[in-house]
Amino acid sequence: MQQKTNSTPQSNKKRLGDILLGYAFLAPALVLLVVFEFYPLFLGLYISMCNWRTSCRAFIGAENYIRAFTDPEMWHSLLVTATYSLVSVPVQLGLGLVVAYLLFQKIKGMEWFRMMFFMPYITTTVATAAIWAYLFSPDKGPINKLLGVFGIPGQRWLGETRGIFDLMLSGLGISLPEGLGGPNLALVSLIIYTTWVFVGYDVVIFLAGLVNIPKELYDAAKVDGANGWNIFRHITLPLLSPTTFFLTLITVIGTFKAFNHIYVMTQGGPGNATTTASIFIFQQLVTYNRYGYSAAISFIVFIIILLLTILQNKVAGERVVYE
């Protein structure tokens, strides 16, 4: 930025004072970021190369990483995370888009609806997870009772390791070969909860995106005789793609980070049916005190997220329409 400076000694002194003030203003934020973000990044990398017991007992280089790559439990946790992500991202965003689009149709009480959809996002995770764990309770749980009204047999929900396709079809007397049972019901129950929490958030973001689409485009399409679906398909969807892209990105990252509700609802169980990478890392740290190993897996997961983000940017980036 160019500024007119008359270089009298006084204005120079004032300028120096401003610079010092600027640094002083930046200092708290920068010091905190360096201490609690950048330093831990390098410390974590160091810990991941150590046999760590309160300090680095032995520098073992890549050993923790090699161990992780040959640990079937680690791969299993990545698979669970990927499944969790692949199922919940489209469900969440799909529902969020539908609700946002409906709310966008000049709905009376729009703000009330938006407020109610947003309630689950705003409330404390552990508390809402406790409610849902109760709703999901097996035997005479509230959801099972509701299903009973429609003649659907009660499920074990968070305690069920069988796949959902397997469960659906076994009711019809069809048994599926192993591996085709679909994601287990415990994981799906967690996804139902996550969807309940985040749809409201997605709605708010989608609504913000919808508002930005120029109204003239809709009017022009209507004049040309386009019907509702065509307008949605050829105007709304393409012009909303930056929002969708952005939401997909942060939702994918969010599913990789998901921890609180999984930990309190299933602890990664039954068995390891819902042990996502974040739960696995936590278990290695807390249950087994494996600091180095835990740190190493954190880095592996981070690299995977990074690669996915880059990939998503490449694949979707070309299809995103910017006005």
Partner: protein
């Protein structure tokens, strides 16, 4: 209504009714778990076990069990040092943690954002990129080293551990900076020509004008910090250092695992104040989220 032309709007109405039906269903799904929590918190143990939806008049004979609330507080336990129910310690710890985090993030955000918006310092771009870069560092990646740091700093089981790592918010810095840059430059020039110092301009012009942004940063950080669970679980040990989220989880795996009505009473005591708070401030939340799109 005999006019045949009236049929067109009538047909459209069916579509609109359908839209409302879907939205109302969605709203019910959003709200019913909360209602279920409240209803369950007022039932007897017996009614919960058989999942009697409405054990009160006119369908049942029970009275609303308001006593579940004091009973839940009693069952959670007592703080042995202060001789007060632990619940109030949890509450106090949560308020301290969230309060310090909110004040801290607001102050650090305003100061940093002011520099980024108004003061020319050497290396400004570098610092801005540095701040941006921290968005790339996920919390999970730095979890293990941060726990190690807490041990090394002798912060284990202290308020320092609960608050200090969260006193800066990149989201806050961005939002404030964006807001500051929308303030007409003329105001700044006029104030500077009049000889106002940066500090004076910040305090008497920038902060008052930016109140909506300050509110948004404060509210969102309040809600997010209240949601902290894994970190307090990792860095506190004593019962009297627990925050509400950890206290609730510990109760859930303990006495609350069978006494669902007490667990729901405990959950209500956390959720209801948050929801009431949200009703009065909801504009700030949704607008803040929509503007920045940052997920907690």
């Amino acid at each position: 209504m005999n006019n045949p032309r009236a049929q067109l709007p009538a047909r459209l109405d069916v579509g609109r009714i359908l839209i409302y039906a879907v939205l109302i269903l969605g709203a019910l799904i959003s709200v019913i778990p909360f209602l279920y929590m409240l209803l369950t918190s007022l039932k007897t143990y017996g009614s919960v076990v058989v999942d009697n939806f409405w054990p009160w008049p006119p369908f049942g004979t029970e009275a609303f069990q308001w006593s579940n609330y004091p009973l839940a507080i009693e069952t959670i336990g007592m703080d042995k040092n202060w001789h007060i129910p632990l619940f109030f310690r949890y509450l106090m710890n949560s308020v301290i943690m969230s309060g310090v985090i909110v004040v801290g993030t607001v102050v650090t955000s305003i100061l940093a954002a002011y520099t980024f918006a108004y003061i020319d310092i050497p290396g400004k771009n570098f610092f801005f990129i540095l701040v941006l870069a921290t968005l790339m560092i996920p919390n999970d990646l730095t979890l293990v080293p941060k726990v190690v740091m807490v041990y090394n700093f002798k912060w284990y089981n202290t308020y320092q551990a609960l608050t200090l790592p969260f006193l800066v918010s990149v989201f806050g810095i961005f939002l404030m900076r964006q807001f500051f840059m929308q303030i007409p430059r003329d105001l700044y020039d006029a104030a500077r020509i009049d000889g106002a110092s940066h500090l004076r301009y910040l305090a008497s012009v920038v902060v008052p004008i930016s109140q909506p942004a300050v509110m948004t940063v404060a509210l969102l950080n309040f809600i997010w910090s209240l949601d902290n669970f894994r970190w307090p679980l990792l860095v506190t040990r004593d019962e009297n250092m627990r925050v509400l989220a950890v206290g609730l989880q510990q109760f859930w795996v303990g006495d609350g695992s069978t006494q669902t009505q007490l667990l729901m009473a405990f959950a209500s005591m956390i959720v209801v104040p948050v929801l009431i708070f949200y009703f009065f401030t909801q504009k700030n939340f949704t607008e803040g989220i929509a503007k920045t799109g940052i997920k907690g």
